[in-house]
């Protein structure tokens, strides 16, 4: 009997816990605020901006904003499984700009056309707005942009007597000249297609084109082939990066290596926010296990990747969109968060941190230093990947990494292009 009573007590305690747990999820609604979740991709949004959003959201609605950071590598899988599920979906999510067409087409996001004037309307970055719109209705809107440009070692380039290049060919030649056994002239991973496509775009090539109603992969297009040949030659002659390295953290290579005192790369291509990781390294006074980089303008410099005939090469328009999940139960509260994100104050904060603000009216916030100039110049001609419904599946499949890796590994470009055209076209139309 005594044993039975004990079990009864345990059962009662368990039941009480369950009831209490139920209460705690219901409580915030009584206080009038709605708790919402925001997914941010990777660490691009600095902590100060995250704190700002949380404080402003609490002030505006009385609810709590939870920010969950998702790793870029697994983000696609997580969005695919979480967004349709009302119980698990983030209310608002950042999404890679190139994935926007796919998710918008299947109806993952809430129609926010009515809200557009309040968010900035025609001042929002047009190519990103377009990537998140279907049939004239807006679903995903730009969050920030950050085109890629070149970071280089001024000391090494000038020691070799090389000026800042004005054409793409000059860049390729100089990069090859700077390569030694222990140093890449230009560090680019073999599978790094996001940076590699600049050579395709610069030569007038495309990854895919729309033929009537259907998308077709266009790797075999003569202009695309020309770009790939240049890239293959450049990778072979100038880069020591592994052929299986994809989009990585190249800035570790341009800083002086702690062990050898010399950099492993004379030149890299990276998004603008890489500047915070580039410079002279010194131990972090607050945390001895880390180092901080201080930009040294005598040693480091930036320039925009030059085009085939001079000017600016079209680079990959990096950046993100942001959207409200259609399955979210907190539609109104989510709209409040969007209003905060598109406020003048937050847009200015994005710019001050080197992230291109979605609302171009506040692009001045980027400043007028060399980074801001390079960002604005490279963004002017930047290009997005094809807005095909199946584009996210193409990225998820890893086919582009595979293709670029095989090309840079010394493969037969035309045969590979034909092979991967077939594989990619099969996915492009959703």
């Amino acid at each position: 009997m005594r044993k039975m009573r004990k079990i009864g007590a345990v059962a009662a305690a368990t039941a009480a816990l369950v009831v209490l747990a139920g209460c705690s999820t219901a409580a915030p609604e009584d206080e009038g605020g709605q708790d919402i979740t925001l997914w941010l991709m990777g660490g691009d949004t600095p902590d100060a901006l995250r704190d700002y959003l949380k404080t402003e959201y609490a002030d505006a609605t009385g609810g709590t904003l939870t920010i969950e950071e998702q790793d870029w590598a697994d983000a696609l899988a997580k969005l695919t499984t979480a967004l349709p599920d009302a119980e698990n979906t983030p209310d608002v999510t950042e999404i890679g700009n190139t994935w926007s067409p796919t998710f918008t087409t299947v109806g993952a996001f809430t129609d926010i056309t009515d809200l557009m004037p309040e968010l900035g309307g025609d001042d929002l970055l047009p190519s990103f707005v377009e990537a998140g719109a279907v049939d004239g209705a807006n679903y995903a809107v730009p969050y920030y942009f950050g085109s890629r440009y070149i970071f280089y070692r001024k000391d090494l380039w000038s020691a070799a007597g090389l000026p800042v290049p004005t054409t793409l060919e000059e860049f390729n030649t100089s990069a090859a000249a700077l390569r030694t056994d222990g140093q890449s002239g230009f560090y680019i991973g073999g599978e790094d297609w996001r940076n590699g496509i600049s050579w395709i775009f610069a030569n007038g090539g495309e990854l895919a084109v729309k033929n009537g109603d259907t998308w077709e992969s266009s790797l075999s297009d003569p202009s695309t082939i020309a770009g790939l040949q240049q890239l293959q030659a450049l990778y072979t002659s100038a880069s020591l990066a592994p052929v299986n390295e994809a989009d990585s953290t190249p800035w570790v290579n341009i800083n002086d290596n702690e062990a050898t005192g010399a950099p492993e790369a004379a030149t890299i291509i990276a998004p603008g926010w890489a500047r915070w990781s580039i410079g002279d390294l010194a131990p972090d006074p607050e945390d001895s296990t880390k180092t901080v980089a201080t930009w040294n303008p005598d040693k480091f410099g930036v320039f925009v990747l030059p085009g085939v005939d001079g000017g600016v090469a079209p680079v990959f328009a990096g950046g993100s969109n942001i959207a409200i999940s259609a399955a979210s139960k907190n539609q109104e509260a989510s709209k409040e968060l969007l209003k905060i994100i598109f406020s003048e104050e937050y847009q200015t904060m994005l710019g001050e941190n080197g992230l291109g603000p979605a609302n171009l009216q506040y692009a001045d916030a980027l400043g007028d230093d060399e980074f801001a100039t390079a960002l604005i110049d490279s963004a002017a001609d930047s290009k997005l990947t094809p807005a095909a419904p199946g584009w996210a599946a193409v990225e998820g499949s890893g086919l582009l990494e595979e293709f670029f890796g095989k090309v840079n590994g010394g493969g037969d470009i035309e045969a590979l292009a034909a092979e991967y055209d077939e594989k990619i076209t099969a996915l492009l139309n959703g």
């Binding site: 696609l76 899988a77 349709p84 599978e191 299986n244 599946a393 998820g396 890893g398 086919l399």
Partner: protein, 298 residues
């Protein structure tokens, strides 16, 4: 009447277990079979109706040489890895019976720690060990005169990639094999072994002639479990891919299905491959189940 009632009880007692199995495993299995017969992509994930396409998914997959390459690689990987695990595991179990109590305790604690280590934590360390730039493995190998391993990229070719994966999986599974087999060994009576050695049987003969047949049930179930686990290996491969390359050459069945389903959003085809893996698993287990049935009948 009395015998009737008694014969019903065992079946009644089976009901909860069977119900839980049906609920927990039957539902996903049935869902998977249905999905594998449908066109199920991102649009269906977001609520569009999923049209039935018969065995289209299977036909497309059967014609895809890449799938068969992955199946071949996975089978080779699982057989080799399971075999190496068994050899090392049985070796360690025999060692445990042979050493002093203190040595055995140290060995057991070490094995237990390796077994209890969370996969993600262990993988992080392994990836550091094999790191191209600063890995301990390259550093140590490089110190051997004549061996040039500085900056050797273990994850750059599928062969060395799978070799690293295999080493890690073996490391993670050896403790289970060693403990199970050791438990089996404690049941082998000393008298029999003593008698055999008096008759002049060598250590090798005693193992193959007496120990192995006596612990055969343990060996076969442990081997079967290893084969199944190594066929379905996912986390280790995925994390190595995150550290190296995620391109198709580095896929085994687990990552292949993941890529097909959650990343390229073709859940129909991914389900079809999962069913194929299930079929391979059943085929692998079939020999074991048949021998079990035979023993029962005998």
């Amino acid at each position: 009447m009395h015998t009737m009632r008694r014969s019903r009880v065992p079946y009644l007692l089976l009901v909860p277990a069977v119900a839980i199995l049906l609920l927990g495993m039957g539902y996903p299995l049935i869902w998977q079979i249905i999905t594998s017969l449908q066109e199920y992509g991102l649009a269906q994930q977001f609520g569009q109706p999923a049209p039935f396409v018969g065995v289209d998914n299977y036909v497309t997959l059967a014609a895809n040489p890449q799938l068969w390459l992955v199946v071949g690689k996975s089978l080779a990987f699982c057989v080799l890895t399971a075999a190496i695990t068994m050899v090392i595991g049985v070796g360690l179990a025999l060692l445990m019976t042979g050493v002093t109590k203190t040595a055995r305790l140290i060995l057991q604690i070490a094995l237990l720690l390796a077994w209890a280590m969370p996969v993600v934590a262990a993988m992080t360390i392994w990836i550091w060990l094999f790191d191209r730039r600063r890995g301990v493995i390259n550093y140590l190998l490089d110190m051997i005169p004549g061996v040039e391993m500085n900056r050797f990229d273990w994850l750059a070719s599928p062969v060395t990639f799978l070799l690293v994966a295999s080493i890690i999986v073996v490391w993670m599974s050896v403790p289970f094999v060693a403990f199970s087999v050791y438990a089996g060994l404690t049941q082998v009576s000393d008298e029999v072994l003593e008698a055999a050695s008096l008759d002049g049987a060598s250590g090798w003969q005693r193992f193959w002639g007496i120990i192995a047949p006596m612990i055969r049930p343990v060996l076969s179930i442990v081997l079967l479990l290893q084969l199944i686990w190594d066929l379905r290996v996912f986390t280790q491969i995925k994390m190595l891919q995150d550290a190296g390359s995620a391109s198709g050459d580095y896929d085994l069945l687990g990552t292949y299905i993941y890529k097909l389903g959650t990343s390229s959003q073709d859940f129909g085809a991914a389900s079809a491959v999962s069913i194929l893996v299930l079929a391979i698993t059943v085929a692998l287990s079939w020999f074991y189940i048949r021998s079990l049935l035979r023993e029962d009948a005998a």
